[in-house]
Symmetry: C2
Subunit: 213 residues, 2 copies
Amino acid sequence: MDTTQRTEQQRSADRRRRELLEAADRVVLRDGPQASMNAIAAEAGITKPILYRHFGDKGGLYAALAKRHTDALLDSLRAALDAPAERRERVEATLDTYLAAIEARPQVYRFLMHPSDGSAGEQGFDVGKHSAPLLRRMGEELAQVIEDRLDLGPGSQQLARVWGHGIVGMMHAAGDWWLGERPCSRAELVRSLADLLWGRLAAAGDKVGGPGF
Amino acid sequence: MDTTQRTEQQRSADRRRRELLEAADRVVLRDGPQASMNAIAAEAGITKPILYRHFGDKGGLYAALAKRHTDALLDSLRAALDAPAERRERVEATLDTYLAAIEARPQVYRFLMHPSDGSAGEQGFDVGKHSAPLLRRMGEELAQVIEDRLDLGPGSQQLARVWGHGIVGMMHAAGDWWLGERPCSRAELVRSLADLLWGRLAAAGDKVGGPGF
DNA sequence: GAACGTATGTTACTAGCGGTAACACCAGAG
DNA sequence: CTCTGGTGTTACCGCTAGTAACATACGTTC
């Protein structure tokens, strides 16, 4: 139907789009989420209006950019989560995969977690939307895995979703803090978090007041 | 020494500062974290330079503003955490306190969690700093409580810090998601999260492939 | 080959932001 | 009376996201 003239012209458009995304990627990797449209255009060797023609606005560009990294990270996480191993091993492998990713490319990670858009337009008080889409997607995917593989009794679906988002948040916050302070090795962090998920908090004994009392 | 002339003039300065903070509070409550300095100044009935004289820059104003709410929330959380009750009850009370707070004033919560500064200046790649200070403070405080009250054996301090930040992150992410989708009541959410912390994830059985197999 | 649509690319602009310089005013202290 | 230190202004800077207007090259279609 309309695939006739789409072949050549739109193909070059798609190629340009990919080139622009790669240029934007380079700039974001260098400047962080504050990368300006001007800087990205300059890196790509062009001027702003072209970026706007391709991506609409800054949010569009950032969404396209984020999608690539998010998809890549989610693929890694799925692989770790689907490995044939004990549950605890899989959990530790998944945690380690995530932490290794944010450790390797903190700028990308920061970009994904902090849209930092502003988006002066529709500023409704929809608190649920501002958070990074990556966190939401990870939470939903983990919820699905939990629901599929664990026998949680009644209310399992809802429980799985709460746990999915909760565990992802735990991983994210701990990773963020760890990346800033580096108080221990990655392996130790993974073990500590897995211990937490394995109920060591509930199992721990109360501390006695003082020795000999 | 210098308390002589400080009495009258600086007192009025402090009063103005408080008034400005309250005006800023109103605007942030209405417009969210994107509230502009112009808007805040207008709400206070003045112009921008005065704000800058009092708070240095936007970050300073926001920090001062955040400190009030953060302190208030932390006080509530400490109270819940220090109540004389079983550990599980205390944990549930603390979770519920936090969730009730973000439920009651989502705009404030959003502001605290999303500085969304930009702060075009020093854009070093210090990933550890961009996250909301509230999360860090909650994590550190919880870590302290855990370390003080639980007997965790060797490496307890480090373990407590990981757990502190991890649990806070779990609470935050789950709360953020819950606030957006409202998939269940607050009490159910609290119970699900406490169940997670109590090791129900590790205790759950694997799901069998299908019935009759 | 001519006409057209669609991509590419430009310069020049708007509106708003955070932030600042320069200036005026008014109250209390010496 | 003068000096200091607060309050307040207008007018500006440099930056940002985003847009309008215009020129040009290429591929498709008649």
